[in-house]
């Protein structure tokens, strides 16, 4: 019984850490333009729209976060093998992973922007100076929370995978959840704020991203400010739910029916999410209604 209570506590803590990690991951990727919306940041100068948006896409978010979390988890694991305090080891591992992230960001920005030189897009040194530390800070939060969560799974919940392997698995899942949930909000709602609300961006408008703010040119910090209103927390909820429910169904129901309990609960959870999704879809259709032409609606 005590073990189950401890397991539930650890599950809740891991879910909370995952929520913070998801929110920080998405905000980091939006400030750095790491995910799929980066295609528009890259495209804009080619269409004649020179901008000051940070453009540091190193790779897709999942492999990038897989790499950074496995570096953090690997260094932390190595330090723990030589009897470092786990908290200190996880912090040091995350710091080293963040420096790797910073190096990738800098080379990513310089490489990507330099490739746009023939379209007259300048390399802004002040963007590297001011925004790289901001993305590093967010990445630190994401990596630290993920590695701490993996440490709890390995040491307290006794998952068979070693800490670095857990870092890789959950780093990739973190990037997948964050990019899936957060990208449309950043790509459509922020980059194409000049387009109509409640409709997709027409393909003919590709590249015409918003480049000016209330005063002066828009900075990627403004994008981070905007996306933390929805995309960050939503990504956090997404990743937090994945981690929490995956652990919860295993901790509480693994013993039932020779292991089939956790599977049955998993299927029930999938059905519940399916029903909620169908409700969301129907709510959208009912509330917004079909698109009408301007003459018909006026």
């Amino acid at each position: 019984m005590e073990e189950i209570v401890l397991g539930i506590g650890i599950t809740a803590l891991a879910g909370a850490l995952a929520t913070v990690a998801g929110a920080a991951e998405d905000t980091e990727s939006d400030i750095g333009s790491q995910g799929d919306p980066n295609s528009q940041v890259q495209l804009a100068p080619q269409m004649g729209y020179i901008h000051r948006i940070f453009n540091k896409a190193v790779s897709g978010e999942p492999p990038a976060y897989g790499a950074w979390c496995v570096i953090g988890a690997g260094v932390a694991w190595a330090l723990m093998q030589i009897n470092y305090n786990p908290a200190l080891a996880i912090i040091l591992g995350s710091v080293i992973a963040v420096f790797v992230q910073g190096i990738y960001c800098t080379s990513g920005y310089l490489g990507r922007i330099a490739s746009l030189a023939k379209f007259q897009q300048p390399v802004y040194i002040d963007i590297i100076k001011s925004l790289t530390p901001v993305t590093m800070a967010h990445a630190f939060v994401a990596i630290f929370c993920t590695v701490a969560m993996c440490y709890l799974m390995a040491s307290v919940l006794h998952h068979p995978f070693a800490l670095p392997l857990l870092g890789l698995v959950w780093g990739i899942a973190l990037g997948a959840a964050g990019s899936a949930t957060g990208n449309p909000f950043y790509g459509k709602e922020r980059q194409y704020q000049n387009q109509k609300f409640g409709a997709g961006v027409p393909i003919s408008a590709s590249g015409n991203i918003v480049r000016y703010a209330e005063a002066g040119q828009r900075s990627s910090l403004d994008n981070g400010w905007f996306t933390t209103k929805f995309a960050g927390p939503a990504s956090g909820i997404c990743f937090g739910l994945i981690v929490f429910l995956e652990l919860w169904r295993t901790i509480l129901f693994e013993e039932l029916l020779n292991g089939w309990g956790a599977i049955i609960i998993g299927i029930i959870l999938i059905l519940v999410f399916t029903l909620i999704d169908r409700w969301v879809e129907k709510w959208g259709r009912r509330t917004y209604g079909p698109y009408t032409s301007e003459e018909a609606s006026s």
């Binding site: 995978f161 409640g198 997709g200 393909i203 999704d277």
Partner: protein
Amino acid sequence: MSALGGKASGGEGINPTGTVVGIIILLVSIAATYALGFSIVPLIGIIIGGALIGFGVHFVPVGGAPAAMGQAPGIATGVAMLAAGAGLAGLFGGAWAYEATGDFIVAIAGGAVGGGLMMAITCLMVNATYVFAMGIPAASGKVAKDPITGDTFPEYKSQGTEGHGLPFVSFFGGVVGGFIAGLGGTIIYLELFDVYLANLPALMNGATTESIQPLAVSLAGIFAIGFFLVNAVLAAYNITGTIEGPHDPKFKRVPRAVIGCAVASAFCGLISMLIIYNTGM
């Protein structure tokens, strides 16, 4: 048509020459495994697992960059990446269930449900973002009517786009894709784990099975992740960009991916067994 107006590249059919060459590679890999003294049953399991991953990836609705602008339906990330994320979440659950119960069937079912659950939550949050934050209803660009719910799409598709969001059939495809990818990945992991656990002690001068277990788990885990990425990337090449799910015409290309993934898995499976080949040195 892709979102940027170009024609979809790559044919729909199966290339006979390529298929014959692939099957020869597959048979040679199996024969080589047998000739080296390994049982071929784990390799068959790995081939089935790899083919399942390739098959499952085609169900996952992936919109890539156009989806991030609400220009095309699907989840706004890459095919390989999303499938790997779901499959690895499944692998996490499957490995844990095997540790706790030691039952092969429970473990692969646990892996499948883990992948399906990850995709269900992700797809729900995608739709919640589109509907509640962006005010955009779900609409498919490939079919006029949802094959499952019967919802019609043309009037809900905004002008100048190929559709947006995740219609119910795409949500269903995502969950099924995560389920199959998690199943395939867990089969590969368990087959490799058993092979390593049986062969590593002899290779390490008679170390006990208990002491070798962490090494076997880690090796099998790393290789399983590698298999995931190999098969997911192969399937992504077959898809060429974006796919809406099982109702998408591109889904017809799936036999090609299954053959390709089986061949790649057979060869990679041979390599993954060679590392524990006892040369007697």
